[in-house]
């Protein structure tokens, strides 16, 4: 019960706050999986898994850049959800938690796109404020922008952990051995896929 009421909400809040660094505030790279993975691993008592998942997720998310309207998969959500799925009361196997986390990171980019679209209305409000010569409440707007993002990430992660974890756990138990073996083999190949991504980023152009 502690997991659902204390640990999980606390983790969701922590990941959501750190994720602000990815774009909204700072850009110190604290939200990169290579940093967040070991931190979450340390907090959850699975440092080895945290380091390994952080490295793999970093390599998988290297090649995508937030250019203009392109919203890459959210790397912090991906590594955060992977670590939560690995450490839940009914923990998922790493070969399943890893692609599940990646998919959740991809899914969250849709949520981010929706938040950005919603912020278009701010332009009209700002134009009106400027036209009427009123004071622009910058601090309120900043708090609102950061707060909406924290809330979106936190709620997304909590709902994902509450729904994805038990359903995938059940599916994994029912799945034929060939399917489980397929996930395990693909996870064994993951460092090579990540290594290739790293080399590919630096290829001569």
């Amino acid at each position: 019960m502690d997991w659902f009421l204390i640990t999980l909400p606390g983790l969701c809040l922590l990941i959501a706050l750190v994720d602000l660094d990815a774009m909204h505030a700072g850009q110190f790279m604290l939200a990169r999986p290579i940093i967040l993975g070991p931190v979450l691993g340390c907090l959850l008592g699975r440092l080895g898994d945290g380091i390994w998942m952080g490295i793999l997720m970093e390599l998988y998310c290297l090649e995508t850049l937030p250019l203009g309207h392109i919203i890459p998969p959210n790397a912090a959500v991906a590594v955060g959800s992977t670590m939560m799925l690995l450490s839940a009361p009914h923990p998922l196997a790493a070969p399943l938690a890893f692609p599940a986390g990646l998919s959740l990171g991809h899914l969250f980019s849709r949520v981010e796109a929706a938040i950005r679209r919603r912020r278009n209305g701010w332009m009209r409000s700002l134009e009106q404020l400027i036209a009427t010569g009123k004071r622009v409440p910058w601090r309120l707007w900043l708090a609102k922008s950061l707060g909406i993002h924290v809330l979106a990430v936190g709620v997304f992660l909590y709902v994902a952990a509450m729904t994805v974890n038990p359903s995938l756990d059940l599916l994994w138990q029912w799945a034929p051995s060939e399917i489980r073996l397929g996930f395990e083999k693909a996870f064994e190949w993951a460092p090579w896929v990540g290594g290739t991504s790293l080399i590919y980023v630096f290829r001569p152009k």
């Binding site: 909204h24 940093i35 691993g41 692609p99 400027i130 896929v193 790293l198 630096f202």
Partner: protein, 244 residues
């Protein structure tokens, strides 16, 4: 520019993308950074403030690390009552291209490659030490140049104004980026070969063939996540065929 204003602009520039929107991208964030300069330093009010604020509501997008330079130039232009729109537009797009390549495509992966290599060299260390080494090396490698450019860019833009374009081209960004890319390429190849040596005990043929095959997929714009999904399907089919 005095230190107080430089610090203010520097700190505010960290929130530049906070107001990102589809219409003007970072325009609201840019006005947020500049508003204090307009009202407190230039003491604009009434119609002049309205006009200055409206000028900065036009589309704006650049790399956050390079935003300091654009902010510096714009502050100087506003102070000298010169129209900043054209230089702001030109600088933001060219600095975005430099920033995306230097920080997004080179320095970020280079930080990962170097910190992973350091961890591989220190593989016998206890896990907490490895985690610390991984984190600090990555953060230092990225943040040292990023913070330096963000901070000094403000004063540089303010001091040089339109001459900044010439200065930037003289700085040899392209040559430095190419050197960093080559270094990253060498480090990542050594890293993958080192991993092959550790896991396959010197048998390079299979992993290198595998990496080459993945490289071909990358040429066709397959992302790592897509390759992973395909790998799961292939492994399931091979399992069903009794290969494993």
């Amino acid at each position: 520019m005095d230190l107080k204003n430089q610090v203010k602009l520097f700190l505010k520039s960290f929130f530049l993308p906070s107001f990102w929107n589809d219409q003007g991208m970072q325009n609201i964030g840019f006005l947020f950074c500049l508003d204090g300069w307009l009202t407190e330093r230039l003491k604009l009010d009434g119609a002049k403030l309205k006009e200055a604020r409206s000028r900065h509501l036009e589309f704006f997008n650049t790399h956050p690390v390079m935003s300091g330079m654009v902010l510096g130039v714009t502050c100087a232009f506003e102070e000298n009552r010169k129209a900043p729109q054209a230089i702001k537009r030109a600088l933001s797009s060219s600095l975005a291209a430099i920033g995306d390549r230097a920080f997004g495509s080179i320095l970020r992966p280079l930080g990962a490659a170097v910190s992973l290599s350091l961890c591989a060299l220190a593989s016998g260390w206890p896990l907490p030490c490895l985690a610390w080494l991984l984190g600090t090396s990555y953060l230092c490698l990225y943040n040292w140049p990023a913070l330096r450019i963000r901070w000094s860019g403000i004063a540089m833009g303010y001091g040089l104004q339109e001459k900044i374009v010439m200065t930037l081209s003289e700085k040899g960004w392209q040559r430095k980026m190419e050197l960093a890319r080559r270094f990253g390429f060498a480090v990542s190849i050594l890293l993958v070969m080192g991993f092959a040596w550790m896991t396959r005990r010197g048998d390079f043929a299979k992993p290198l063939f595998f990496v080459a095959a993945l490289f071909v997929l990358k040429r066709y714009y397959w992302s790592a996540a897509r390759i992973h999904a395909a790998a799961i399907m292939v492994a399931i089919l091979l399992g069903l065929g009794g290969y494993f």
